[in-house]
């Protein structure tokens, strides 16, 4: 899962990025409103964490710009403004969730996972695919009821496949959701990750759709 983190505080931004990376998220940190509006408009993210008090362009304006351009990415507003009136304004501008500073990282992570899961069209937090299950609340995969140990990259790829199980996911799309914006992407690395995942969950689960991408097939 790749997250756009917009936070101008020089201490808080990197701290959140570090905490999210620990939870397997790919994170792009942006520190001003104009860059944030641009990134959200051009890159593909699973969700955005948006501070409201930003230099250059305030958070609500960034959000409105995205919505005006039909960008549907789930947005979680992270702010010190805790009035219900501020929340009303935030949701009216198109936010999907709202978290008040200071916050517990666990809560931010849980809410982000829930946002991404709901955006993919899943009402229930527990996703199943054949022998594989994914608890989106704690971000834990299980195979035949046993916890699965995955690296951050493996987790990102598998969670993408799981969220859109039975659907073909474009290679490029998958690459975008797995690597951070400034990462050096080796085009072969995705195949390496898929190969390792197949060893862990069973080769028949992850199907290669030639010329297009990959698909998680659950019926088998």
């Amino acid at each position: 899962m790749r997250i756009l983190l917009v936070e101008d505080d020089p201490d808080l931004g990197p701290a959140i990025r570090h905490a999210l990376r620990t939870e397997n998220f790919a994170v792009d940190l942006i520190t001003n409103g104009i860059d944030a509006a641009h990134m959200g408009d051009t890159e593909h993210y699973d969700a955005a964490v948006l501070d409201l008090g930003l230099p250059a362009l305030d958070g609500l304006s960034v959000l409105r710009a995205w919505r005006a351009a039909d960008r549907a990415l789930p947005v979680l507003i992270l702010t010190a403004r805790e009035n219900w009136s501020d929340k009303v304004a935030g949701f009216k501008a198109g936010a999907d969730d709202y978290l008040i500073k200071p916050f517990r990282v666990e809560e931010l992570v849980m809410r982000l996972r829930a946002l991404v899961r709901r955006a993919a069209g899943h009402a229930q937090p527990l996703l199943r695919c054949g022998p594989l299950s994914f608890d989106t609340q704690i971000g834990q995969f299980e195979l035949q009821g046993l916890p699965l140990k995955l690296t951050a990259f493996e987790w990102r790829v598998l969670s993408q496949l799981m969220l859109r199980k039975e659907a073909v996911i474009e290679r490029l799309d998958l690459l975008e959701k797995v690597y951070e914006g400034d990462a050096d992407v080796d085009s072969n690395s995705l195949e390496v990750i898929i190969g390792r995942l197949r060893k862990k969950v069973g080769a028949e689960l992850i199907e290669t759709v030639r010329g297009r991408g990959y698909r998680l097939t659950c019926a088998a």
Binding site: H18, F91, D97, Y98, V105
Partner: protein
Amino acid sequence: MTRLRSFQSLHARMLALSAIATLVALALAGWAIAGVLERFVTEGLDRRLDAEVSLLASTVDREGRIDRARLRQHLGALEGAGGWRWRILAPNQTLSSRDFPALDPGPPHPPLTPGMPEPKRPSLSDAERLHPLEGTREDGSRVHARELTIQSRSGPVTLVAAAPRAVVNRPILGALLPLLIALLALAILLGGASFLQLRIGLRPIRRLRDQVAALRTGARTIIDEDQPSELRPLAVELNALAEDNRSVLATARLSAANLAHALKTPVSALSLQLRDQPEAAAQVARVNATIRHHLARARSQTGNRRSSTALAPAVRDLVEVMFHVHADRMIPIVSDMGEELTVAVDATDLDELIGNVLDNAVRHASSRVTVIARHVPNNPRRIEIDIADDGAGIAKNERSAASRPGTRLDERGDGHGFGLSIVADLVSLYGGRMEMRDAPAGGLLVVLELPASDS
């Protein structure tokens, strides 16, 4: 400078003044009445003494001789009453009753006009020549006398009739007792009347005092300006003072709020960096709790009662927010209220009121939440908002703690009561009422009663 404590009371001062004035007036009245009474009684006595003097005169002939036989004949009438005395002072003899009292020297006799007509029997026309005298008997008691000097051929004859002063004093004293009782009764009556008058007259001052006290404790935010004309300027000034005070307070609270806001981001960063150090993280959590507490307090104490906010749109927006904030709970919120309802509550504060209660309801509901608003029956000035869930409810003994204004969030661990105590603060700030009951569906029913706005 020392001053009697009781005279620092307006009531006591005015009461004392009116008591003194009443007493002085009554003393003057008593003195005047006694004087008039004495004059009447003395005039009555004078007439009797004058009659005696006439009798004495009738025993003196033109030569200045005293007709003793005639005198003896009238002696009974002259000395009949105890202590009455008489004396005839003729040129060649003096006759008098025994122990005739010593008379004080009277005013000089009116000169006997030479060439006056023949002496004749004294008559009423002699009255102006009769003059009063005072004297003392041997036993020290005072006497009142009348004296007449008539001319005889052998010289002036002075006739004196005297009566004990007691004859005058006794009826006066007799009349004075009921008079004093009557005056005393009048004094008590007047005192009571002025006491009542003061109590009723000073009632607006007492009411003003109570209102100022209520202003200080926060039970009211303004003083009634519908006061008697003397007090109205004071009430207006007090309100202006209170308003100044409030704005100073509001500025201070705004600064506190800004400070708290500014602290939130660094505290967030700190708490993230200290995630792996539980003790330090606990300290940061305490800092955070303190910031939240003061921020919420600062916010909940600057209400603007002159606002007017439509209820239904605010509730709609908040219901929308709840769907997002509690997206996974999927609790439907059913609301029922007229579009015309407006409350005299600032829009931000109304959001805070409804938002906190609704948030609490959605958190605890098991299948649904209802919001119903209407005018309080028979009171178009109040609007009642009922927010009910069908969850487990709150135990009765915890309800009062949750809704007590100013309850600190760290007194309740779950943080849920925090919102309700803010609600209680805001409700009391706007002169409303908050009540928690058992909801029909089994959960908690929060009843908010808020002032309706004029429009």
